[in-house]
Symmetry: C2
């Protein structure tokens, strides 16, 4: 099919979808982290199906200009900045509109608590912990794009999900793929869940070469365009380690049932193997709009303007076993999960310090995992106990960062 | 993972499954075509989960010895031969047991009509049409391994399925994969269903080379071990054409939404593409016990002793567009579907005559599709009307065979 014909087909299909009667009532949606990449893509999709969604609250950290534009374009009830410094700019940009403006942590939490049928939780980092938990407490469905909720506070987070009866919808491409590949009638027959990893830019480098890797080498990611932290995590495969931890909390499996396979094309995102030998998998072009659209329309599906997969054009999907010697992060994550004592919180915090040190050229790439391992050991020496509350998690996170920083000089 | 460890894991898993309490009531099952490959595999799986299944009727064409052995081993209520010639042998082999023995078409239809929760319809060829329809009329679930019901009589068959409220479970690996890859909440969002084709032994042959292909060349199939007819169909890709016709009747798509991609490793069996850009697929080692187990345990899953998929070991999954010039069969099947006038019945009948002529060295491989096309044209000249009853189908089938035979001399 020529590209022109394919585009025409896509447009015709979009028109047919737009014309079709709405198959579900209009849903009230909020987006936490609206001005980030996931937030913008979510609003793009909502804008293509305006009759299906009613925007309640949009929140951002500090980008008042974009937030105001989004709130006006989507007729939001409320726009909130986490950082109070931008409130005047936000108010000014929204003057004369019906959109309420507010700022600060308290306003953010009030925005999250406003009733919604669906909330996109896309605040990045540990700043997303409290707002996302609040969204889970009040929400009917929460699309989860924040990693820390599961990696740092998985037990507490999933307990809240269970007690509030909220439907959690993963947004990460790998976890969305896993979610889509779980046979709802046979989740007890899952033998294994395998996440795919692109392998990063050092997939074919020797151990000696990796020692010389620079931030510039690492930031040249083969398929996805991501932020710096995520790109370094992808280069060390720590990203896959963190995703294994998330997968453990999202899916009905034990740590030993989780695996990673290196797949440079990033077309297959996750594979779920069953007791009858079947493997169900989700494939797509690498475009975050697909998993976002899936979470937005769930349990139905909505049209998304992504490039359709053409396997004949791609030609070949390659797979290889991950090398635990050059890339120990996935195995470290599984060990942290098995320890079941807060190790995943430590691992995540130490990794952030280590990635920062690598980006600032203080340590080499292999030292990232060394620092994480050293920090885990140091915390364990002090007697590691499983965090029971979000405050425990934040305290352990802070302690781990302090320890990791104190261990840094030994590596440089 | 070493093979020994993998085997140990499989055995441990099997033991765990055997110990687990049965999660559903015991099901009454019948197998039509018990002594064939699908029938034997079905009984093998049933034998591994004896508490879950109660065997009602086993039927075979003429293999009295094996049928009697199976009936005794699985404590069947009834064993029936379609061919009356073997009745004495069957009775003698079953004397002193509680298994009833019978033979002939009438006895076969009575066996099919005996109430069962699940029936495996694995009688090969047009001989399977009436018994399978009868199974659909009385059954709660019918696992369909007979091609002709859908290819020759799709409309009539599916009307009976709908009016009797029977759950149809496809057994072909491609259609089982499609069935497993359909999102039950979003079947209206399917954009495309793609069946994979191994490409057969002539995938890399030129048009000129294919003209010289012998039955021996064709019978050297790369991945699946099949009967002669099926192997030739695989070499011409007519097998994929017939499967496209089946897919049309099984899945909620129009003919133009069906496609084929050549995939020599035969690991991915079917791909279902959705409006959000997601493609769901089922993969497995090429082993019929996986789709049979799926149909047997549906909607749950059961443990099957198949080789687990190891993508890192396989290394690469290759895909290429089918070549409609060298292999016109899939396109012919789509055209026959679009004609919606009985052409699929003609195509199937003419193909059987053509394959037989190729196996008997009367025509070359490319002449198989030529004969099918010529027969379609000849039938159309006489005025083709859509068959309304099974008798219409059988009459059109017979007419097509006669015409195909009469056209053969022009090709040799």
């Amino acid at each position: 099919m020529s590209e022109a014909i394919q585009r025409e087909n896509i447009l015709a299909t979009a028109a047919a979808y737009a014309k079709s009667p709405t198959s579900q009532a209009q849903r009230r949606v909020s987006i936490l982290g609206a001005t980030g990449s996931v937030g913008c893509s979510t609003l793009d999709l909502i804008g293509r199906h305006p009759n299906r969604y009613d925007v309640v609250a949009l929140t951002a950290n500090s980008n008042a200009e974009l937030l105001a534009k989004q709130a006006i374009a989507h007729d939001a009830e409320l726009a909130v900045l986490a950082d109070p410094a931008g409130l005047d700019e936000l108010k000014s940009a929204l003057s004369g509109t019906s959109v309420e403006a507010a700022a600060g942590q308290e306003a953010l939490m009030e925005a999250v608590a406003r009733p919604a049928d669906w909330t996109m939780a896309a605040i990045v980092g540990s700043a997303g912990l409290r707002p996302t938990l609040e969204a889970v407490r009040q929400g009917k469905s929460v699309a989860l794009a924040n990693k820390e909720c599961l990696v740092s506070a998985g037990d507490i987070f999933m307990e809240t999900v269970a007690s509030s009866g909220t439907r959690l919808l993963p947004v990460d491409s790998e976890h969305s793929a896993g979610f889509q590949s779980i046979d709802p009638n046979a989740s007890d027959a899952i033998e294994k869940i395998t996440l795919t990893a692109s392998g990063g830019p050092f997939r074919t480098w020797t151990r000696e070469q990796i020692k010389t890797a620079t931030p510039e080498d690492a930031l040249n990611h083969p398929t996805w365009s991501m932020g710096d932290k995520l790109t370094i995590d992808s280069a060390t495969l720590m990203n896959k380690g963190l995703e294994l931890i998330e997968a453990f909390f999202l899916f009905p499996v034990e740590p030993d049932q989780l695996g990673v396979v290196v797949h440079p094309q990033s077309i297959v995102h996750c594979l779920v193997e069953y007791s009858d030998g079947s493997v169900l998998a989700q494939l797509s072009s690498p475009d975050m709009r697909t998993p976002i659209a899936y979470s937005l329309a769930w349990p139905e599906r909505m049209w998304a303007p992504t490039e359709r997969l053409d396997l004949a054009k791609i030609g070949s999907l390659d797979f290889e076993a991950p090398d635990n010697d050059r890339f120990p992060a996935p195995r470290m994550a599984i060990e942290a999960l098995k320890a079941n004592n807060g190790s995943t919180t430590v691992l995540n915090a130490a990794n952030e310090i280590a990635v920062d040190a690598f980006l600032n050229r203080r340590i080499g790439l292999p030292s990232i995992c060394t620092l994480v391992a050293d920090t885990l050991e140091a915390v364990a020496r002090d007697g590691l106990t499983k965090p029971k509350t979000l405050d425990d998690v934040l305290a352990l996170d802070a302690l781990s960062r302090t320890l990791a920083r104190s261990l840094l000089p030994e590596l440089v």
